[in-house]
C-alpha cells in the first residue's frame, strides 16, 4: 500500500520513559514519513502524549528515558538542550490540545507568530511580519493584517487553534506533532482543523504525528494508525487495514466502543 515511499522523517525505537519510578512508556516504536499523517490512538494514560513530548524533550522534570528518537541523523534523546532548541520549533513543531491555554494570553498574535521565526531563521521584523500575515492567510484567518495586532482572547476557539497551527508552521518544520488538536474544540470546527492539517501535510510534505483518542478523527485523516495501550504500541498499520481488520483485541474493543463504525473513505 505504501511500498516505495519510505522516507522516514523521524524514527522512534524502543522508547522507554519512567517518571518517578513508574514506567510510562515501555518500548515504543514509531516511524513518521514525510507527507503522511500518522495517527496515534489509545485511551488516556496509554502514553500517547508522553510519546509526543519525549520527541521535543518536554517531558516532566525527573523523567528518565532510554531508546532512540532519530531525527536528521541524531538521537534527540541524547541531544543537549541547547542543540535541541535549534530543532524545536524550527524542524519539529508542536500543536497542543487546548489553544485557550497554549497561546500566551498577554502577547499579540504577531509576537507569538514571529518570535521564533526571527530567532531560528534570523529574519527581520518586517519580513517576519509579512510571513506571519501569509501564514494566517494560509490557515484561513480572515483579515490577517488586523489579526496580527490582536490578542488570543479576541478569537474563538477554532480560530485560536488555527493560529496555533500557524505558529507551529512558522519556521517550515519537517515534522509536526499534534497532540489532541481538536479535543478541546466544538465538533463543528474539528473537521476544519483536521482538513487544514491534512492539506498542510499534503502541500508541504510535513510528517504529522496526530495524537488522538478519537478513532473518528483518526479515520478521517490518518494514513497510518498506531494503537497504544499501557505504554506500548500494540498495533501499527495502514488506516484501512487497522480500522477494518484489527488484529489486536484491544484495537477491536476500541472500535466496538465507537457509537457508529467509522465509514471508510478512500484516501
Amino acid at each position: 500500500m505504501t511500498a516505495g515511499r519510505k522516507t522516514a522523517a523521524l524514527t522512534i525505537e524502543g522508547l522507554r520513559v519512567a517518571i518517578g519510578g513508574h514506567d510510562v512508556l515501555r518500548g515504543v516504536d514509531l516511524t513518521l514519513e514525510a507527507g503522511r499523517v500518522h495517527g496515534l490512538a489509545g485511551e488516556s494514560g496509554s502514553g500517547k502524549t508522553m510519546t509526543g513530548l519525549a520527541v521535543l524533550g518536554l517531558l516532566p522534570h525527573g523523567s528518565r528515558t532510554s531508546g532512540r528518537i532519530e531525527f536528521a541523523g541524531r538521537n534527540l534523546l541524547e541531544t543537549p538542550v541547547r542543540e535541541l532548541d535549534e530543532v524545536r520549533g524550527a524542524k519539529i513543531a508542536m500543536v497542543f490540545q487546548d489553544p485557550a491555554t497554549s497561546l500566551h494570553p498577554m502577547l499579540t498574535v504577531e509576537r507569538q507568530l514571529t518570535e521564533h521565526m526571527r530567532h531560528h531563521l534570523g529574519v527581520g521584523r518586517k519580513e517576519a511580519r509579512e510571513r506571519a500575515a501569509g501564514l494566517l492567510a494560509k490557515v484561513r484567518i480572515p483579515g490577517p493584517e488586523e489579526a496580527l495586532k490582536r490578542y488570543p482572547h479576541q478569537f474563538s476557539g477554532g480560530m485560536r487553534q488555527r493560529i496555533a497551527v500557524a505558529v507551529a508552521l512558522a519556521c517550515e518544520p519537517e515534522v509536526l506533532i499534534a497532540d489532541e488538536p481538536t479535543t478541546a474544540l466544538d465538533v463543528t470546527v474539528q473537521a476544519g482543523i483536521l482538513r487544514l492539517l491534512r492539506g498542510l501535510c499534503d502541500d508541504l510534505g510535513l510528517a504529522v504525528l496526530l495524537v488522538t483518542h478519537d478513532l473518528g478523527v483518526m479515520s478521517a485523516v490518518a494514513d497510518e494508525v498506531s494503537v497504544m495501550k499501557d505504554g506500548l504500541v500494540v498495533e501499527t498499520g495502514p488506516r484501512g487495514r487497522v480500522l477494518r481488520e484489527p488484529r489486536h483485541p484491544y484495537t477491536r474493543s476500541l472500535l466496538d466502543a465507537l457509537p457508529v463504525p467509522p465509514e471508510e473513505k478512500s484516501p
Binding site: V87, H119, P142, Q154, S156
Partner: protein, 377 residues
Amino acid sequence: MSRTSVPSNAGADGGGTAPPSRGRTASAGRGAGRGRRPRPLVRFLIRRIVTALLLAVGITLVTFVLTNLVPGDPVAANLGQRALGDPAIVAQWRADHGLDRPLPQQYLMHLEGLLHGDLGTSQQSHRPVLDDLAGAVPATLELAGAAILVSLVLGVGFGVVAALRRDRLSDHVLRVLSLVGISVPTFWLALVAFYVFFFRLQITPGSGRIDPGMTPPPQVTGLYTVDALLSGQWDVFSSAVGHLAAPALVLALYTIGLLTRFTRSAVLEVLGQDYVRAARAKGLPGRVVLFRYVLRPALVPIVTVAGLAFGSLLSGTVLVEAVFAWPGVGQYAYRSATTLDLPAVMGVGLVVGVVYLVINLVVDVLYGVIDPRVRVS
C-alpha cells in the same frame, strides 16, 4: 489568581474584522488607520486618573472628620496651664484657629486652603504645615523609595530563584529566610540593627540622613542621594547612602520576605502553564521563556502584593524613623499626633492618603500594561 479566559469574542470569525475596514474607508482621506477614539490603554489611564482625583477629595473629608472626632482638646494641648485659666485667651486662640465655627464651615475653609496650597499652620512649630511637610516628605520618600527598590529587586529575584530551583537547597534556604523576614517585628529589628551595626560593629553611620557637620546638597529633589549626584558631591553622596542603607534595609525586610514568597508561588504556577511548555516547544532561548513567558504573567499577582506591601511599609516608617532619628513624615506624624496639632495631623493624613492613591493608581496602570485583557474589559 487563576484567570479563566474572558468570554471569547464571537465576532472573531469575521465580524470582528469588519469595523477596522469600515474605519479605514471613512478616514481614508486623512490616511489615519487608527480612528479618532483614543487607544484602549489611554482610555484606561484616563478612567483611572479621574477615579483617583475623586478619591483624593474623599480623603480630605475623611482626614478632616477623623481628626475632629479624636477625643482631646487642642486648646489644652497647646496652651500653657496659666493661659488655659483665662477664658479670653482660650476664646482668642480658638477664634484664631477657626475652631469656633461650625464643622462643615471649617471643612470648606480647609478645602479652600488646600486649593491654594495652604494646609494651615502647625500649632507646634508655628510654621505652615506645607513647609514642615516639604522638609519631611522627601526624607521619607528617600527612605521608603530605597526600601521599595531594594525589596522589589531582592524579593522578586529571590522568589524567581527559589521557584526555578524548587526543592533544592537554595530554595529551602530562601524560604526560611523569607519566613524570618515576615515574622520579625520591624521596631525590634530596627533597634537591634542600630545597636549591632552602629554601636558594636560600627559599620554603619549613626542616626540622621547625613554625617553631622556635612552640609546637605543643594535642594533639587529633596532626596539627598539624588541631589548629591546632581551636584557631583561624591562625599555627600556616599555619606547619604551610608546613612540610608541600614534603615532602608530594616524597613524592606518584611516586604522582601513577602515578595519572595509570593513571587515563588506565582512563578511556580506559571511554570506549569501550557503556554510555557509551548514556548519551549518553539525552541526559544531560556531567558526569553523566563522573562516573556514566565515573569510577565507572574507579575500580575506580584504587583498586587507589592502594592499592598508598600502601603504597610509606609506605616513602618514611623517606627524606623524614630529609631534612626530620620527627620521624615513618620516622626512628624508622631509628634503632631501626640500634641494634637490638628492641622499637622490633617496634613500628614492627606500626604499618606495621596501616597496610597498613587500606589494604587500605579498598580492599576501596571495591570493594564501587563495584561491586555484588563484594558479591554
